[in-house]
């Protein structure tokens, strides 16, 4: 039950890159991915910046070799999961018990909302093929079939912590000797449904978001997909290049405070971080870098910051919110940020928290505002907190 689980491969697509290498380059340039809407067709275009993946649906379909485009959520998933699996280069993969655990928040909603325009006018109208992949699980299956994985497939949806949960569920399937290899992470495409939903909550910044800034005004929505390939110790020994890190800690806790707001002292966040440290058998002082949940909303950043203060004071590790680059990719964020955590270890780099001008008055620490190279990064804590009080933290440790 406590056998190490190794990260053998990573894959990512977001507004700052269509693969992992492009992400590394964008971080080096400190170049954010937000901008005016160019692919999403919404009345809020021009008012609300978003972080779009810079590939249209036909381009995604072509790149993946699909005959026709399917849900964008599924295509983003295929792109990043394929990159992750290819980069793992696992010998004899077809003889191993392999699983695909993915996460998303609204399934094939990007197509369902098209269907609904016709369907609402006349229930006998609307193309059924636009709605058959509405379910979250249907999106996962499109990607699983594309990858050729069938031994174990599942989907998790716990709002913004979805893909952190899929990663650690995958690790547990390996620790319980149910699987040898798991491709785990999450995906979400921008949809009008989520854009309008977050807009009604009045937590979208009309300019580029400023996580952990005293004058933060909200989040920018983004899209993308991020996956890691988890392997057992035995499979790790079969790999040509040794994995750079393990998933050493994880914990899921519930804030049990409010459906959409975090408790003022960040109870759920605190419990998740503390539990992950215990699982990894580490102390707060061992953590080199925290990849913050850091959405840029008033509520999240103070709750998360307060929980960090309670756990880490007075010695704070490096911290940053990479959502200042990618926007908040919801069901993909835990997967993408897991990839960034692995990159921090592999590249010995601390990514900056962009646009932070005025540190938060109530917090005794300040996230990094500049890229730090040649950093000593041994243990990375990645936070993912969501609606419904669902809080999860993961820890990645250098091998």
């Amino acid at each position: 039950m406590s056998a190490p689980v190794f990260i053998a491969g990573i894959g990512a697509v977001s507004a700052i890159g269509n693969n992992v290498a492009e992400h590394v380059a964008a971080f080096e340039r400190s170049e954010a991915g937000m901008g005016a809407m160019s692919l999403l067709n919404s009345v809020h275009s021009g008012q609300l910046p978003v972080a779009e993946v810079k590939l249209s649906n036909p381009q995604l379909a072509q790149q993946l070799g699909l005959k026709a485009a399917v849900s964008r959520t599924a295509m983003l998933s295929m792109l990043a999961a394929k990159e992750a699996l290819d980069s793992a280069a696992i010998p004899g993969l077809n003889k191993l018990r392999t699983g695909f655990i993915s996460a998303n928040t609204v399934g094939g909603m990007d197509r369902t909302e098209l269907f609904f325009e016709s369907f609402l006018a006349d229930p006998s109208r609307g193309r059924l093929k636009d709605v058959i992949h509405h379910e979250c699980g249907a999106v996962t299956e499109l990607a699983a079939d594309f990858l050729g994985v069938k031994d174990y497939i599942s989907t998790i949806s716990t709002a913004c912590s979805s893909s952190a949960n899929s990663i650690f569920f995958g690790a547990r399937l390996i620790r319980n000797n149910i699987l040898d290899v798991v491709i785990a992470g999450g995906t979400d495409a921008l949809t009008k449904f989520t854009l309008n939903g977050f807009n009604t909550l009045m937590i979208l910044d009309q300019e580029f978001c400023k996580p952990f800034d005293e004058n933060r005004r909200g989040l920018n929505l983004g899209e993308g997909a991020g996956y890691v390939v988890l392997v057992s110790e035995l499979v790790a020994t079969m790999l040509e290049s040794a994995p750079v890190c393990t998933l050493s800690g994880y914990c899921n806790a519930n804030d049990a405070y409010h459906q959409t707001a975090s408790s003022p002292d960040g109870t759920g966040s605190f419990l998740a971080m503390e539990g992950a440290l215990q699982r990894a058998n580490l102390t707060p002082a061992d953590i080199s870098y925290i990849n913050l949940h850091g959405t840029g909303t008033q509520n999240n950043d103070i709750a998360e910051g307060t929980a960090i203060k309670r756990l880490f004071d007075p010695l704070y590790p490096h911290m940053s919110s990479t959502k200042s680059f990618t926007g908040h990719t919801l069901g993909a964020s835990g997967g993408l940020e897991a990839v960034f955590s692995v990159l921090a270890i592999r590249e010995r780099t601390i990514f900056p928290n962009l646009r932070l001008q005025t540190p938060m008055q109530d917090l005794p620490f300040v996230p990094e505002t500049m890229l730090i190279k040649n950093a000593s990064v041994n243990h990375v804590l990645s936070n993912s907190f969501g609606f419904g009080g669902n809080c999860s933290s993961l820890i990645f440790s250098k091998t």
Partner: protein, 354 residues
Amino acid sequence: MTLYIKGTGNVSPQKTVGHPGFLADGVTHMGTRLACVEPDYKTYIDPKLIRRMSRIIKMGVAAAVDALKESGVAVPDAIVTGTAYGCLEDTGIFLSRMVEQQEALLAPTAFIQSTHNTVGAQIALMLGCNGYNNVFVHRAFSFESALLDAMMLVAENDANTVLVGAVDEITNYSHSILERIGLYHKDIGSNVNLYEEKINGTIAGEGAAFFLLTNEPSTENYAAIRGVRTFYKPTTSQEAETHIRDFLSSNNLTAANIDLVVSGRNGNSAENQVYDEVHTSLFPGNLIVNFKHLCGEYPTATAFATWVAANILKNGVIPGVLNNGVETTLTFRNILIYNHSHNTHHSLILLSAC
């Protein structure tokens, strides 16, 4: 990995909520849409909260409350929920208003309650449960994934009690879309005709079932859950049979040790063919009962089947409504639930007497 069912709660198209007895009489439903028999929620939920809750949240909370009350566990160590479709009613409300009002003047409530973790989160909120909370949303694997998660949590010593369950609802939108896809047999008359030879197509169901699982054995428990397995897109019935044999043998059993198969047959002839082949080949002499005439077809119907199997083991009786009016009293040891959805998602749940 053996867990025990200590308490159950079940809001279904039958009279099951509030523990009125084990399917003493069946509720007949005309047409293709089996709606849940819902309780007076005021006995379950603070009336101030009821107003804001959608139907699926109320159903889920009532089932969870029944399971917790019966088990005497106030706050479980973990809550794991399965839902294939999520909160369809609120999703439909927000989506239709967004389209009709062209993205203007929208209220947040329906969006907030549309997320798939709403039911699990509301239960945690109501109980003040800070423990592990997860939600599986994988079609006809949703409940099975939740069950596996619960079993692993206990095996890992991270929980002694887990509240695990599944919720799914039918809405006007979803029913009309699934009807257009051609899932249902429109001229079925009533649900009791589901297995008649001339029927080709199923009936829609919904439900919320929760179970309080514990690692503590007791003669008071309903049953032991010994294992759960899912397999995806088997290419032949023989492949499905191999999975079933392997699953049984991993639990030190053979098909002959199964006293009762609870089968997911649903009126669709293509789907029934797979059941027929597996039943004939693996379980030729075993007792087999169907359950979907009682709850309808929906992706998390195996949660209803688990409630049925747990009650059969506890009471030592198969009620007449499950078996063509014939009540059967027997000493049951092992029950296997075998379900598949469109020959894509196959699942096995093994329960044994305590």
